[in-house]
Amino acid sequence: ADAPPESLKEDGRPKWDNKFQYLLSCIGFAVGLGNVWRFPYLCQIHGGGAFLIPYFIALIFEGIPLLHLELALGQRLRKGSIGAWSAVSPYLGGVGVGSWVVSVLVSLYYNTVLTWVMWYFINSFQEPLPWSVCPLNENRTGFNEECYESTAVNYFWYRKTLNITPDITENGTLQWWLVLCLAACWAIVYLCTIRGIETTGKAIYVTAIFPYLVLTIFLIHGLTLPGATEGLAYLFTPNLNSLKNPRVWLDAATQIFFSLSLAFGGLIAFSSYNPPKNDCEKDAVMVAIVNCLTSLYASIPVFSVLGFKATTGYWDCLDRNIISIINKFDLPEQSIMRQNYTTWIKLLNSSHPEKIAALKLKSCNLQEFLDQSVSGTGLAFIVFTQAVILMPASQAWAILFFIMLFSLGLSSMFGNIEGVFTPLLELKIISKSIPKELISGIICLIFFLMALCFTLGSGSYWIDIFDSYAGSLPLLVIAFFEMTGVAYVYKIKRFSEDVKWMTGRKPNLYWQITWRFISPLLLLIVFVAFVTLQIQKPASYAAWNPKYEDFPMKEEKVYPPWVLAICVLLAALPCIFVPLVAFFHLIKRTLRSKDPSSVPPEVFSCQVAIS
């Protein structure tokens, strides 16, 4: 009789169709919305091209070692985050649980951001674009007041999309259009992750490659726009003085860390489906480099478009001034052009200063327009949408842009969901007879119901909280424990042997030094600096309040105490599992140490090395 093939008989574990799928999944997970809307912003405010120096230093000493560690760990132990860390040492099981909790929290709010992207996408099919004109007020005499005082783009985002409340304590109601889009987003996520990597592996071909196509199209189009060169020069002009500010180094370190999606457990899950003998070292270096190059590549079209927008704003300012001057002085049309505006102003100021003063001309400064830097949702939904209106064929550009954002976010969602899914399937609580489709369906349904709270009027304030507290600090803590756990509990020597078994060569001096000393130290410094900076500034948020006296400026408000308590809870919850599980195992061991037939932990660890 034929014996069944070894691999299937061993663990029945699903595997990737080919190596390319695995690499694309890792790259898709790492390359996300942050590469498009956070990296260019950081580059801009931290001295342009000079920011690349701390960025690459952080990559070499923090990003790549940690990435290699996670991929190697998952590949060796062939388990999701909870199982893998429990296998390294029962005391470190809390690290896996913490990763799992972070993945749950991030999945909840990340898909709501995708909901906003989808909402803009389906609205991009309208001619003219709904965010280009203000709606009229009730008696049709003028424009809607809120829209008129701010801009049409702002109005569409804050009122028509979010229907935002002026305060985080005012919950508002569920916005039905957002609930519909949220349902659609979770349905799409379910469709792609229905059978785990079997289905995400097929979907990733589209969602990981498509953004690059669109970025290239935007690159070519962006470079042809007027003012693109100003934007690019502004972005890349290095200002080496900014390197003296420690904030820049901290931002570089945190950006690398969050950009590579480390400590989520998703990378461990992905690599656990690999064949055991796979070169994880090359994979890690490749994924990290592709991620960084994508950030750089994405910042070029982003800044071309921002430069175009600034230039157009500057020209509009000039044109308005020119019209008022021409009207006042009854000069012939086309006598003052943008080029000779400054000479005319000087002339008129010397001859008729009181008339010029009476006009109350706004000073037009291109630098000021370029300085209006935005990151995050503001960049995508306010600045970029405004720039798109100014382009010809704006519908097509809007559709392309939002599909690209959706693909970027979706491929990152796959990693998050896999980080939740894989450990759940390995825990004994779910019996094997339940089909995978049902489990993923139940998970997606539960997440959808929980994420409904983000579709309330105050939802976007809560998403900011989740992003700042759940998606930042716990990751640093977990990564620190990951690194020290492998370096000092599992021991680097044994880990190097494992890596040698998998890749065929021993990790060289660079890996040894970074794993043992540099990366844990760096993570500790980053963590301490991050916490110090967070504590120093009072926890506040910017609220959109139409009744505010300085409207359309945002109102600075302080979080009420119960919200602060939730913030602390979000940051502490994943971290608390690390000592909790260790404590639990310690209790278990002391209770069992009275029983002589118990298995000592060293033998348990040896079993892992041999299998």
Partner: protein, 184 residues
């Protein structure tokens, strides 16, 4: 285009036309419209006189109302729009944005949702079919194995019990070979 006497003539004609339409009297002539203070900016003042009432000017409010009524015709005559041909003190009425009966986004959303649900149903059905096939196959192979055993027992003529493979006996010849290999 350059502003010259012909354009001025057209303007006077348009204002006269507007007055005629508004008041429905056919008495306003082009000569009733007077322009003054024409500047290079191309801005000027104009009045409309009423020849029936002894060269008095028509009240400004009437002229305003007439022009407002025929604004688009006047704009069209000059190939200009509200922004480029401005009548001071006559603000333009804003046309409301076009709103289709069904919001466009709802249609696109429906398409996206239908595609997704279709995909989900397809994959679920595929999964169920695969599982049914696997169950059938495994029960088939089980039957096949049983049949094989039965066949072997009958065909060979040698009952399986004599060839009891479960209780393995070590063949002495092979054991000697093993020792030879172990020394390497």
């Amino acid at each position: 285009y350059a502003w010259d006497a012909n354009e001025e003539y057209l303007f006077k004609a348009m204002v006269a036309f507007a007055m005629r339409r508004y008041s429905s009297k056919s008495t306003t002539q082009i000569s009733n419209v007077l322009l003054c203070n024409v500047t290079d900016r191309v801005s000027f003042w104009f009045v409309v006189t009423d020849s029936a009432k002894n060269v008095t000017t028509v009240p400004g409010s009437e002229v305003e109302a007439a022009i407002r009524m025929n604004r688009n015709r006047i704009n069209g005559a000059f190939l200009l729009n509200d922004k480029t041909l401005q009548f001071l003190k006559i603000s333009s009425t804003i046309s409301p944005p076009v709103e289709p009966s069904t919001p466009v986004w709802l249609i696109v959303f429906g398409v996206v949702l239908c595609l997704t649900v279709a995909g989900i149903i397809f994959l679920i059905v595929q999964g169920i079919q695969r599982r049914k096939k696997k169950n059938k196959e495994s029960s088939d192979t089980e039957n096949l194995e049983e049949k094989c055993e039965v066949t072997v027992t009958i065909e060979n003529g040698i009952p399986c019990e004599t060839l009891d493979l479960k209780a393995g006996h070590i063949n002495g010849v092979y054991a000697a070979d093993d020792e030879r290999f172990a020394s390497l």
